[in-house]
Subunit: 126 residues, 2 copies
DNA sequence: TATTGTACCATTTGATGTAAGGGTACAATA
DNA sequence: TATTGTACCCTTACATCAAATGGTACAATA
């Protein structure tokens, strides 16, 4: 399994890592229950910071593409292949787009939407 | 009708202006069809920029609290009293909160929500 | 001709959030 | 004792956006 990180590009490093691991799963280059390099190891190999790799792993685990077993290491999730094809991001986009579309059609300005969004995200609701 | 603007406070100037005009309507200090000072006049009186007052008027007209009649000036909307009590912002907060709550419960990180939000607002949807 | 709301062009200031990196420390284990 | 994932602390660089301001110009009109 080869991972190539483009430092120059605009795509965040952790996002590149996630994308490539998902692709490797989809292309059967890594199979369910296969072990993955440790965070520190992979960070060292790719010349990335530990935190960057840890972030990618954290998100991959949330999406059940990988499975961390504490001190025993990290492994490909049994359902990795199915879960790798689920584009959580697309679902988020769709839901948000629907809500924002409704607001815009009611005449709410983008500026007002942004402020309200910020309030919600920061739990500053009345 | 007296309007007092607090330059020091954190509440945006245009927002203070909107709030005070709505309050004046709700308290019967200005009645339906009453004329309002022109944008330039009010900006001069309150020592604000024309654009700041124009912004407040634009939003007040959208909410049908006031009515602009081009060169003839600006007047209080016939339905001003009812419309002044409608808190559009609260509606926006509620709708956005509902959507974001759903996403969060699905495990989507705030960071991902913010990025998706930004994409939607800037029409960067695939 | 002066005034009305409005529509552009632009700028500065401040706040906020992401991405990435750096450091330290922890419990659980082989 | 070295390694595992993880959880904190913090900093830097960069991007985006709100808010406010400034200037110029327009058609419609009294």
């Amino acid at each position: 399994m080869e991972i190539i990180i483009d430092i120059e590009g605009s795509v965040p490093l952790f996002a590149q890592l996630i994308e490539q691991i998902k692709q490797a799963v989809l292309n059967d280059k890594i199979m369910a229950n296969d072990p993955l390099p440790s965070i520190r190891q992979l960070a060292n190999d790719l010349d990335l910071n530990n935190k960057t790799v840890a972030k990618a792993y954290r998100l991959l685990e949330r999406d059940e593409v990988i499975q961390t077993k504490g001190y025993r290491g990290t492994f490909i999730h049994p359902n990795a292949k199915v879960n790798s094809s689920v584009d959580l991001n697309a679902l988020v986009l769709t839901k948000l787009n629907k809500t924002i579309d409704t607001l815009r059609k009611e005449g709410v300005t983008d500026s007002e939407i942004r402020i309200a969004f910020s309030d919600v995200m920061n739990n500053r609701i009345s």
